[in-house]
């Protein structure tokens, strides 16, 4: 690229970044409102599903095995419907929990959190966009609660998951693994995407470095993720990547973080 053209391009990228950031802020604000609005109805439905299940059980117990066959069959059908409703509700509230992590709310500090839950909620969120062509596979170990800022860890996971999904051109897999390693937990995110050239590998943590089209990439995801993991959680982030085969990111965070 000619120097002038390069500057022009950088400027354009900068403008796109500013636009993306302010859009993010607006969306986060909106999301917080929407989540608050959905939370109460969901809570009510969850509770009602449980009460209906308890009531159906009570009715069944009253009727006994010798009750009218038609009534017993209807009860069984209702029990199945109630179970479907519960699963449907769980799916909605998983997405809501995922969104909560990114909505503009009160900043939470370090607290013991269940990383596997965080991983599952983030996958649910990213999966809603990519699951038609990408299989998300999980292999989640038995983890103790980890002292972290769940909102920030959620953001880091989301960045890595979106990058993994965007690296896969047609169909492929993203595999997320968690495990305990001594006094740390490991979260690895492996994709079967394009991989990176050596030149790209050198630069991925640089602010504003992106190989993606304007409007798609901002080059802010990995630098932010790096800061979240290494500075805010005293952890490490490493990766291996092979062109044409895929990329694996590994993050490790101490189970108990000393305040930085």
């Amino acid at each position: 690229m000619e120097p002038a053209a390069a500057t022009e391009f950088e400027l354009e990228r900068l403008r796109a970044q500013v636009a993306a950031l302010s859009k993010d802020a607006v969306l986060a604000q909106l999301a917080a409102g929407v989540i608050h609005e959905i939370n109460t109805p969901i809570a009510s439905i969850f509770s009602n599903i449980d009460v209906m299940e308890r009531s159906l059980e009570a009715i069944e117990a009253q009727l006994g095995a010798g009750g009218p066959p038609k009534a017993l069959a209807l009860l069984k059908m209702m029990r199945n419907l109630v179970q479907v409703d519960r699963m449907a509700c769980q799916r909605i509230s998983g997405v809501i929990r995922g969104l909560k992590l990114h909505a503009r709310g009160e900043e939470e500090g370090l607290c013991p959190a269940h990383l596997n839950q965080l991983v599952e909620d983030s996958i649910l969120l990213v999966g809603s966009e990519y699951k038609r062509r990408i299989a998300f596979i999980t292999d989640l170990g038995d983890l103790p609660p980890v002292e972290c800022n769940p909102q920030l860890i959620g953001q880091a996971l989301l960045n890595l998951l979106v990058n993994a999904a965007q690296a896969i051109e047609a169909e492929g897999q993203v595999t997320v693994r968690t495990a305990v390693e001594g006094d740390q937990v490991l979260i690895s995110i492996a994709d079967t995407g394009t991989g990176m050239t050596d030149e790209v590998k050198q630069k991925i943590f640089h602010t504003a470095f992106s190989t993606k089209a304007l409007g798609v990439g901002t080059g802010l995801g990995l630098p932010l993720t790096y800061r979240i993991i290494t500075e805010q959680h005293r952890g490490t982030i490493t990766f291996t990547s092979e062109l044409g085969r895929g990329t694996t990111f590994e993050i490790r965070i101490p189970i108990t973080t000393k305040e930085p």
Binding site: A32, I35, H36, N39, T40, P41, I42, A43, S44, F46, S47, N48, D50, V51, R54, S55, A58, S93, K100, G105, E106
Partner: protein, 157 residues
Amino acid sequence: MNPQPEIVLVDDEEMVLTSVSALLMLETECNVHTFLSPAEAIRHLETHPVDLVVSDYLMPQMNGIQLLAKSKELQPEAARVLLTGHADKGSAIQAINAVGLYHYLEKPWENAQLLMIVNSAVERTQLLRQVQAMISDLDNAHDSLKDIQTRLIKAFL
């Protein structure tokens, strides 16, 4: 043996009142009084002894902490539980110590957990009332003992 436990439930959302009271009706022996407005709940508390007050946090005229503070003033022995949405968590937690909450629950709540909290809160209040009654019985007994004592002493003087 104990009278039927009395519960006051306050939320500005009708659906929450309906859901929670259905659960309590099915699974407990409690008598549940529901209120959409904190002011009406306070009016009830002024004239009826209750075992437990469960309140939402964010409501139009008065927040749940203010309501529970009023409840503490009117009926200190009645247990207080806050049932809040996620967004109000921080501010709610800050105020918790001020009103001496028995418990704090986040929406969506787990019915099993809510039942456990309600049952143990009611039990605690009723125990507290029994202890209070015993103490005042003791006081009375003590008073009449003293009475007898003074009369005895007088008799000998």
